[in-house]
């Protein structure tokens, strides 16, 4: 067991730091660090810089354009880039449909779609959940009926993140009604500009728009857009969900947010002293910091076990549960630091170009909205309750 970073790994950290400092646009970094509103173009600019460097897909095999970093390298990159304010890349292409196509796609599909994911030319969204099918995804009802060279899709997807930015969607649809609900599900790729596809925004607790409903009315999709075998899409869907889990611990972002929290608490005064020195608040931070340290060690332990290839194990569910709990707790503590200044609801102040005055310090304006927005993390990607079911079944054997 060797728990210090090797010289090679430390050098890599410096390499990452240097690259990010040079190539991450400063205005994007500032928006991320100050919790300002991020737009598609912000993410695309960072995506382009990484693509040019050849670092856009660290977890893909080299033959498909990835840089095949190991777990430690991916962790180092996560921590170093988050610290400097790198925005979160859209995961649906790079982390979901990309690996799916690599594993299950036809040669034509790989040749066509993978480069477009890497370049950022295609922006994907995920057509999974439906109003009647959330945790019970296998009960989904959106239908795809074969008609000559096409599938005709009718139905509705919901909670579709960035459907309003995406030009492509991958969907789980029902091609056959079967006794076992998991049978008869297929995965199809659909161009968002196809006739009959309609995107309707869903406004979340914070008043912002990032998720949508996507309605399908007689949408025709070529049969070549079927991924894998017809009717056997459920196992493909599950493959993707387990990959969704490892990225989701969010250690890099949480470390950055913790540093930000300490910085804010060192400047905010309470009873004549910085809040950071208040014994009770200091203890809350220490408890969180210790949990984050434990999570970081678990990420490295679990991920390096999975480095020998193959699918991430069910222990990745721990990372999702603990990672999201920590993310949420950080938003709570940041809101606490702001005190009264957290309550004014002024969405305009979360825009980077805002030049007006807020009732309290500028940092406080987005904190309550961010707290509300982050309540989603224990729900998306498989609720934390479902994650516990998975661990119970696949690790404990209950």
């Amino acid at each position: 067991m060797e728990l210090t970073y090797s010289k090679k790994e430390l050098d890599f950290a410096v390499e990452v730091r240097d690259f990010v400092s040079e190539s991450l646009p400063g205005d994007v970094a500032r928006k991320v660090l100050e919790h300002k509103r991020i737009f598609k173009e912000d993410v695309q600019r960072w995506h382009a810089a990484l693509h040019e460097k050849g670092w856009i897909a660290p977890h893909w095999p080299k033959e498909h354009g990835g840089c095949a970093w190991n777990a430690v390298q991916r962790h180092i990159f996560d921590v170093e880039s988050a610290a400097l304010g790198a925005p979160r890349l859209s995961p649906f292409g790079l982390h979901m449909i990309g690996p799916v196509l690599i594993a299950f796609g036809t040669e034509d599909q790989k040749k066509y779609y993978l480069p477009r994911i890497l370049s950022g030319e295609d922006w994907w969204c995920q057509g999974y959940s439906e109003p009647g099918s959330g945790s019970d995804l296998a009960s989904l009802k959106t239908k795809a009926v074969r008609d000559g060279d096409s599938f005709v899709i009718n139905g509705q997807k919901t909670w579709t993140t960035h459907a309003h930015w995406a030009n492509m969607i991958f969907c789980l649809v029902r091609t056959e009604v079967s006794e076992r609900k998991q049978n008869g599900i297929s995965m199809v790729l659909c161009d968002m500009s196809t006739d009959g596809v309609e995107v309707r925004p869903i406004v979340t607790l914070d008043g912002e728009h990032e998720v949508n409903e996507v309605w399908f009315s007689d949408v025709k999709v070529p049969v070549q857009n079927l991924v894998g075998e017809e009717g056997r899409g459920w196992s493909i869907g599950k493959f993707l969900l387990s990959h969704e889990r490892t990225g989701i611990a969010g250690v890099g972002v949480s470390k950055r947010e913790l540093a930000y929290l300490k910085h804010l608490a060192s400047e905010e005064m309470y009873a004549g002293k910085p809040l950071l020195e208040d014994p009770i608040f200091k203890d809350r931070i220490a408890e969180l910091e210790i949990d984050l340290l434990a999570l970081e060690m678990t990420v490295l332990r679990v991920a390096s076990r999975d480095d020998s290839g193959g699918e991430p194990g069910p222990e990745a569910s721990i990372l999702k549960i603990k990672g999201t709990e920590i993310q949420q707790r950080l938003t709570e503590l940041q809101m606490e630091v702001a005190g009264l200044a957290a309550l004014p609801y002024l969405p305009m102040a979360w825009g980077d170009s805002f030049i007006g005055k807020t009732p309290g310090p500028a940092y406080a304006a987005p904190l309550a909205a961010r707290y509300l927005n982050m309540r989603k993390t224990s729900i998306y990607g498989g609720t934390n309750e479902i994650q516990r079911n998975i661990i119970a079944r696949r690790v404990l054997g209950l």
Partner: protein
Amino acid sequence: MNFSLTEDQTLLVDALKRFSDKNYAPEMRQRMVLDQEPMSREVWTGFASLGILGLTLSEEHGGFSGSGIDVMVVMRELGKYLVIEPYIPNVVMSAGLVELCGSDWHKKVLLPELIKGESTLVLAHTEMQGHQDLSHVETIARQEGGVWVLSGKKTLILGGASADRFIISARTSGSSGDKDGITLFIAESLDESISGQVYPLLDGSRVLDIQFDNLRLGSESVIGTLDRAFAPIECVYDRAAMASCAEALGAMETAYEMTVDYLKDRHQFGQSLSQFQVLQHRAVDMFINIEEAHSLLTLAAANAWGDSPYERARSVSAAKSLFARATRFVSQQAVQLHGGMGMTYELPLSNYVKKLTMFDTLFGGERFHRSRFSNLRKEEAATTGFVSPKKSWKQL
């Protein structure tokens, strides 16, 4: 960076398992407790032949030259079997102190016997009113014509009931609560000036309280530098805290496994308890607590014998704090999920629960460690005379 055990470590674990399966069956342990035996000399000799009594001592003294990871690996196994032999007090704390502070003569006289299991040596430091403050030493040592004269009381001496010698901390200057002014002395346990009482702790292990008035010791009994014992004491307490976490890991894992088995076997309402989601999730939360604790422990183990007192203190305090929560949750839920059976003395689980209940009280509790974690400053650590364990201890 990598997390796998070396082949040597894997072999050591296997050897320990085989030894403990044979020599530490639950019934045997139970008999030792009922017979009020603090230690089995047979088991202790067995440990010596496994090489684990000199685990971290250098090869030049006959030790294994092991690392903190080796200690973690050994303690986890000892925790699974609830070994009551005083491994931490002898091997981690006292042997560590001799190596850190002892003169060449001390090392030559004391270490080989310790490693071979021929004699035992434990630290007598804690005093009842001191709680967990390591600088609380009211025991006094004064000079009287070239001889040291010690008076005071020491309590809850782990391994004290079977100790051949003590390392006693006494104040040679300053007042209680000062970090400076503490000195370590070696004394024979059978010295007629020392009177003691042996009593059991929650888990059946036996400890010692001692009182002594005018205990007379020669100048060669001073180990380390006069007035400067605080830093090495703190160092071995940190290592003991880490070892205690590793032991608790083994105990938690066993309690958890017993609980999962029980959920599968026990039937109510026409089905196995393992079908009920609330119980599944509770068991999962036990598992998550254990996994996270294990992860953080590896960091503490990697730093506990390392070169940086700051990293040692930080990682050990982080681990000890997290383990406080984990041991409490796992032991409480293990009882809870066993229903009425969890409340019985007879169930093997009960010994694990009692062991885990003791965890937070020894080697610094959650409050102490989390506060230390919060307040540690890198620069301060470099100037307070903390010891680098690879070199011998030197005065600030």
